[in-house]
Subunit: 354 residues, 2 copies
DNA sequence: TTGTACGCGTTATCAA
DNA sequence: TTGATAACGCGTACAA
């Protein structure tokens, strides 16, 4: 079992100095054709590759991006990672993933672990717990230490950093308007508690659509699910809540859900209660994932273009990383300008709407 | 914008030597109570954290695990990552993810990028293209350079490394036997081409179950899907193939599919053709993911326990990493012993079977 | 054309 | 009790 070969070993073996080897490998004109070839041949033979860690230390740059997301078993987040990875690799960056599991503590710890030299910047989506606590000191600290952050999807606008978001309000509004034009009179929404920023915004879009069409919102048609009730494998609580919603509002003919799971569950419950889809009841879900595409009937959704979000976020981060370069002593006080990019959603119509 | 504070800066500020600071922070008894407190207070104030990169270089150990998987938008792989991450973080390791996108070249490049000091070992599942080419030199080289690999799910037994797999044959067999005991007489299988190791094994299990029950296998009941036909968003090809299967075998009363997508598609096609589930047709799928759980009717599946696989793989790798430590000069020739751990599957019965 | 010396941030060893 | 030095692997400015 031979260890990885280093410049030092090559130098010793060939009886030249380390810097000669280094230069020879980088095709420096300082080195004679002769030794250059000799060194390169030897390096190839032993499959020499520069040690990334040493380079990172020397350059104070790891060429690695840290991603922190609440959970990975989630089509949207996976898609975003795919997008980030695509762009990052193309530009010579690696990607390192940390999961917060929707926990504040894990988010903080994970960021600390990564921020100590392992990565050059973060791309992240905030955990629910953090949003609820509204404690953002770890983001501020990270940024103050000169490490850029790009937030996506679940963002906090107080934090000075680039952001990539979806037009949640508009996307939700378009969806609800679709239901309205399709003839729905009694549209329910299944959403999250308000501290989840995207849930709140989508609820806003729902209300706005109603208002525009002079439909009086009814609080009994608004179900705000407390996802603390929901463990991964116990969906009974959710089903019961949804069932209650239908039973206390017999006239419901449209449902807008802020995520796939809520929509699929609503569909299941509705069918059990005898609704025919889309004749008696039409549904649209935010987030386009596997569930929507493959459910029967298939679900109409608001697509968020997760991969595009990831790509955009990676581009923003890398641009900033390569721009900041050498900013150390110059216009330190110059006000930084941050972008917030809005990725347009679009409505994908499938079988759950007419 | 203050850069991260280093030992050197603290030393200068407090007018002591770097090594004094280092020792003070590590609570060395060599240092006087007095200076120790002074240093620690200062370090806390400036939020000092040791630079991971420098530590990695010094210790020749990054405490980071590299994961290479074919794709992330896949419930099973996501679950495995979750499991790996869980164990890794608990033991002080980070996790860095590379995607091969089922491509041989990307697999090789990704491994090279990571193997140069960034990580201490790999956990990976082989890409389809690699399996097809049967070119495994990159695995062999990596292992020869002293970097341990743990393979999971899609493995190659020729490579000397630890492996975590599922009892694919047995799991498939149990599933098909369930269909048989439930009264199915004409059971079709929807599987992959044979070069996908797990597809082949599951097909084997299917055949074995039939044989045990003295049922003659019929090639017309075996559909081997060529997934090169299938782009992410074009599932028509798959649907057509499945439809053909049903139309040329009117007596099919049971379907075993090697993954969720195939199963859900089969269910959709069958319902379109007028089958009632589970009365006319029963289905079981390998792989337990979101699709199965939330489809209507919900799908009975063979659960692979992705998270358990990830946890086991991480444990294997970390154990080996911490065992190898200092093995440099001792019994170098001692034959390494590798484990292959088999994670038992179990059948989850839902509405698609009686 | 080649080699020496330094620094990136840390720790371990040895000297003061 | 503290400090100087070397080392991890690399690249580069400068000296030979």
């Amino acid at each position: 079992m031979k260890r990885k070969v280093t410049l030092k070993q090559i130098a010793k073996e060939l009886d030249v100095s380390i810097s000669t080897v280094s230069k020879a490998l980088r095709n420096s004109i300082e080195i004679s054709e002769d030794t250059r070839q000799k060194v390169q041949a030897f390096a190839k033979l032993y499959n020499y590759r520069p040690n990334n860690i040493a380079l990172s230390l020397k350059n104070r740059k790891s060429n690695t991006i840290g991603i922190i997301i609440p959970e990975i078993v989630h089509h949207f987040f996976s898609k975003v990672i795919t997008g980030i990875e695509l762009v990052a690799n193309k530009k010579g960056y690696n990607v390192i993933v940390g999961l917060s599991n929707e926990s504040f503590d894990k988010e903080v710890i994970n960021m600390q672990m990564l921020a100590n030299g392992s990565i050059d910047g973060f791309i992240l989506s905030i955990s629910k717990e953090t949003l609820q606590h509204q404690d953002y000191h770890h983001f501020v600290e990270t940024i103050n230490q000169g490490m850029p952050i790009v937030m996506f999807d679940r963002v906090v606008h107080e934090i000075p950093c680039d952001k990539v978001i979806v037009d949640d309000v508009k996307g939700a509004k378009k969806a609800v308007e679709k239901l309205i034009t399709n003839g729905c009179k009694h549209i329910a929404i299944i959403t999250t508690k308000d501290y989840v920023s995207v849930g709140k915004l989508r609820t806003q879009g729902y209300l706005s659509a109603l208002e525009d069409h002079k439909i009086e919102p009814k609080s009994s048609l608004i179900l705000k699910v407390d996802d603390k009730l929901l463990s991964d494998d116990n969906l009974d609580a959710l089903e019961k809540e949804v069932e209650l919603l239908f039973q206390s509002n017999k006239k419901i003919d449209g449902v807008f859900a802020v995520n796939e799971l809520y929509a699929v569950t609503a569909m299941k419950v509705a069918r059990k209660l005898g609704y025919s889809i889309p004749d008696d009841l039409q549904l649209i879900s935010f987030t386009d994932g596997v569930l929507s595409k493959h459910s029967t009937p298939s679900l109409s959704t608001v697509s968020q273009h997760g991969q595009a979000i990831g790509e955009k976020a990676a581009n923003l981060l890398i641009n900033r990383l390569e721009m900041d370069h050498g900013d150390d002593n110059e216009y330190d006080e110059e006000e930084e300008v941050y972008e917030t990019i809005i990725i347009e959603t679009n409505l994908i119509e499938r079988e759950s709407t007419k």
